[in-house]
Amino acid sequence: MRLLKFFLLSILVAIFISLLFQVRFSTNDLSYHPISIGGNMKYGIVYSPSAASVKVSLSCSNKTQIFVRDIEENGTIYTGTVYGSDLVPLIFPHPGHYEFSLNSTEVHCSIIVKPIEVGFPAGNWNAHFILGSLIALSLAFLIWRNGHDS
């Protein structure tokens, strides 16, 4: 019983730590690697540690169509044609991976992603609060039952 109580308390503390780091996370903490796609390497993936509003700078060797796919949700979040270079505002809706791809193997593109604003989706905050509340309730019940027995 003591092991279970300590374990639940540890889980509760871990949820609190996760929340704390998310609250303190800001735009200055976020940076994306520039990626260069083209030829056979026509898929380039960036990892976003948070949801973010970003500006994507695209420089391509020729006119091409570019796609941005949300890998975890498996849905396209942007499709557009680039004539040489372009600046595109995008929203990364959640922490995860985003795939940039071209429809041609003859074009090369350099992609620079700059964060404007960061945050976390509502589902993420809700998961923290719901799970935290459930664990806290279970822990309170265990402590109450222990006191009741003795």
């Binding site: 949820i15 730590i17 780091f21 940076s31 690697h33 260069s36 995860g96 998961a127």
Partner: protein, 229 residues
């Protein structure tokens, strides 16, 4: 032996240390997920989330350092303090062999560390990617078969080295410091094959698994022969 394992699993000082362990390890995992900067180029579409899930443990050196520190404390308290305080005389007078008592201590420490590490790892990952729960669960299903053996070998390695050093040490303080030094020095000296977190696949764990067996046997032999006072 089951009684001893149950007693060791409920030991309040160890559980308090594991509470601190969970604070530090959850912070290490969360920082890893927030500071990770990655770019992947490919000829075909990929699903890289399972790899990130496993890398949270495999490439996370702060996690290894924290696990080493906490394991040193837990093993030191479990196997050495009773000898310092003289309680060991009563414990080893019980109708169980020394080998059974020492093995129970080893397995309870190992079980506690694996259970806490695995639970916190999964919790932090799922919470971080809870905005896309379906993708996170898919990554969890794909990554867990390699994560469980990884944690099992790493914790067995850490606990076996700590146990051997603890049982050979003159007191608890020396035991804790010496076992942390033995586990942390390879990180400082960049001796990759002695640090199980730095590896690209499960083959990198062969050496730590082999060393775990050697140190476990040495711990039992040393514990059986040494005077419990």
């Amino acid at each position: 032996m089951r009684v001893f394992i149950r007693y060791e699993l409920q030991e309040p000082t160890k559980l308090s240390i594991l509470l601190f362990f969970s604070v530090l390890v959850s912070a290490a995992h969360k920082v890893f997920l927030l500071k990770q900067v990655g770019q992947v180029l490919s000829t075909y579409p990929l699903f890289p989330l399972p790899e990130l899930f496993v890398d949270m443990a495999r490439l996370n050196t702060p996690f290894y350092v924290l696990a080493s520190l906490m394991a040193s404390f837990i093993v030191g308290i479990s196997a050495r303090t009773e000898r310092d305080l003289g309680v060991a005389l009563s414990i080893y007078a019980l109708p169980y062999s020394r080998r059974a008592i020492l093995t129970a201590k080893f397995f309870s420490n190992f079980l506690l560390l694996v259970m806490y590490s695995l639970a916190i790892h999964i919790l932090v990952f799922i919470l971080h990617f809870s905005g896309t729960l379906e993708g996170a669960l898919e990554a969890l299903t794909a990554g867990i078969p390699s994560l469980i053996p990884f944690y099992a070998v790493v914790m067995c390695y850490i606990v076996s080295i700590s146990s051997f050093i603890t049982i050979s040490s003159p007191n608890t303080y020396v035991a804790i410091l010496a076992s942390f030094l033995a586990l942390y020095f390879p990180v400082l000296a960049n001796i990759g094959w002695l640090v199980p977190t730095i590896g690209t696949d499960l083959n990198a764990l062969k050496t730590p698994a082999f060393l775990s067996v050697i140190f476990f046997i040495a711990y039992i032999l040393m514990g059986e022969r040494r005077d419990v006072r």
